[in-house]
Subunit: 346 residues, 2 copies
């Protein structure tokens, strides 16, 4: 078999279409664009469309962006795509954007503010029309600066303190409350909380919700029962549980800040020969994929990730349509899915 001949043929341009249809490129442009099509005679429009079709004309988005300073593209700022929490959100976003011909540029920040800044810079220079941010921290100078500069954004999953931005998040309050209530119903009275990082809005929201729930239900309200994780990660979750255990704080159940933290607990169980749920009940948060196959299957509060993403996409499209629109935020209500990591206290 011989190597195929490689011929690089440049794509047809608007001039080609115009020439073939016997009109000026300007007319061709107007004919091709549904917005401006009424400006040209129906017959010529047809001719142009046919010509475009026949030579397989595809508009050059680069040239279009240069002229119009728009791009039909939005930026998507994610801490780490490797975290199974985010892919479904991304899908949700992409799907609603696709409906109106938009697409998304995905970038990872690794939770590194410097990296985040350069990534956002590169997104902006690519003329993205808006940003969907999944990396918000409560104090987030970059985001307030961007907001001042008038860049359109929506926050997903987390928020920024004191910044009036459209956002879509899960109802942490409701979720945590369901988790604690579930454990209380099983008979637990000393429940610990492995809190997420307190620089993130979800971290504090869930911690606060936890304290409220505990108090409302009349359970043991011991400050020692709350320990904070530095990151939303397994290793941090494991660390936190170790600290809790090593401090000798008695407890029979823990509600973790999220699933990753909960899974970190599993590591400690393995280390120390503890059994779950016999020795300790655990409930997570998020319901990431494959939890049902864990050992034991993790009880968790399920948040609709895909919808988180699709709502965020819709919100961003809204503010692109009408930048003056008052920031609308949506709160998605989670649900408890109980599996086998929770049981009455041994």
């Amino acid at each position: 078999m011989t190597a195929p001949k490689i011929v690089r043929v440049s794509a047809p341009t608007l001039r080609d279409v115009a020439q073939m249809a016997g009109v000026h490129p300007a007319t061709a442009s107007r004919a091709l664009n549904p917005q401006t099509r009424p400006l040209v005679n129906a017959d010529t429009a047809r001719k142009v469309l046919r010509a475009a079709e026949s030579i397989g004309y595809q508009p050059n988005p680069i040239a279009r962006s240069l002229k119009t300073a728009r791009s039909s593209t939005v930026g998507l700022v994610i801490p780490d795509l490797t975290n199974p929490l985010f892919p479904p959100i991304v899908r949700g976003i992409e799907d609603v954007l696709a409906l109106v011909g938009y697409s998304a540029w995905i970038v990872n920040t690794d939770n590194d503010p410097a990296r985040e800044e350069t990534q956002v810079e590169s997104l902006r220079s690519r003329q993205v029309e808006g940003l969907i941010i999944a990396t918000a921290r409560r104090e987030h100078p970059l985001l307030v600066r961007l907001h001042r500069m008038g860049v359109r954004m929506v926050l997903v999953n987390r928020r920024v303190d004191g910044l009036e931005l459209p956002s879509v998040t899960a109802d942490d309050d409701a979720g945590i409350s369901m988790a604690v209530t579930h454990l209380a119903a099983l008979g637990h009275t000393r429940i610990a909380h492995l809190a997420g990082p307190q620089q993130t809005s979800t971290g504090v929201a869930r911690a606060r919700a936890f304290r409220h729930a505990v108090r409302d239900l009349g359970l043991d309200d011991d400050p020692a029962l709350i320990v904070e994780c530095g990151y939303w990660s397994e290793t941090e979750g494991a660390q936190a549980l170790r600290r809790l255990l090593d401090a000798g704080t008695r407890c029979t159940a823990v509600v973790a800040g999220n699933d990753l933290i909960a899974l970190g607990c599993y590591d400690v169980f393995a280390e120390r020969g503890m059994r779950c749920p016999d020795d300790l009940s655990v409930v997570g948060f998020n319901d990431m994929p494959f939890l049902d196959k864990m050992n034991p299957p993790l009880t968790t509060v399920s948040v609709p990730h895909y919808e988180l993403g699709s709502e965020a996409g819709r919100l961003l499209l809204d503010t692109i349509d009408d930048p003056e629109r008052v920031p609308r935020s949506v709160l998605l209500t989670p649900s408890l899915v109980v599996r086998a990591s929770t049981a009455p206290p041994g």
Copy 2:
């Protein structure tokens, strides 16, 4: 708190820099670009750089792309980002691209050829300089067409029959062989294979490797022991195992085409009250995240995903550098990680 005043100020352009430095934009352009900097006097170059610095000039990639027909961007064609197999690959790719100032446009195809075609079309119109393809099927008309057109591509994870393209894949042969050998050593003689889709190169490579291994080790070589899945998914894996079981084919272990298929088996274990590994040993392929926390932890052959990605990135950069370079392909050697889903036959 009052709403911040929103002022949208257009970014400084090359003309601004030139004006401030008192030179022509062309000179400024040359001064800014390390490649052409020798063409301008060192002093003026310094002036230009200082001016650019002082007003925070950032070149406009859109305009640059339009002029140069390059974009420092490559396309990344993924079947589904939600599959935990791919995020690490993506990270590997992104990391090596970032080293040389490139970045990646990620698109999902959902395994839908039509969608794939439009996605690729949109990538190409965005002037991507090459494609990294993770969706290859053995027969893949689109890819041969693109190759004929001289589009630079590298294949990752899967290949297409009879197409001389750089690719990076795991050594399926070695991996499967290790899996089968491991099971044989445990005493299994009737081992089944839940094969991946035979339209994909990995599907057939692993199935073939399986047959070879079985024969080499003198195990039962019964065609009924091989059943094919339509997709690389849990549900298909479950279906396949059900078919195998319902056909009454006797076996004590199965090597799955990949981890997802293996996890599908867990579902039918739950359905039918079977225990793993007591009733049936299972080994997967890929070592996707969180397998160690499954019930039982899944024995699997581990392939270095991150390296899969980073190698693919390097390969693509190579062919961008020198399109005439002879296609180099790399084969990554996997390793067996045995956990608790395999044991001697009951």
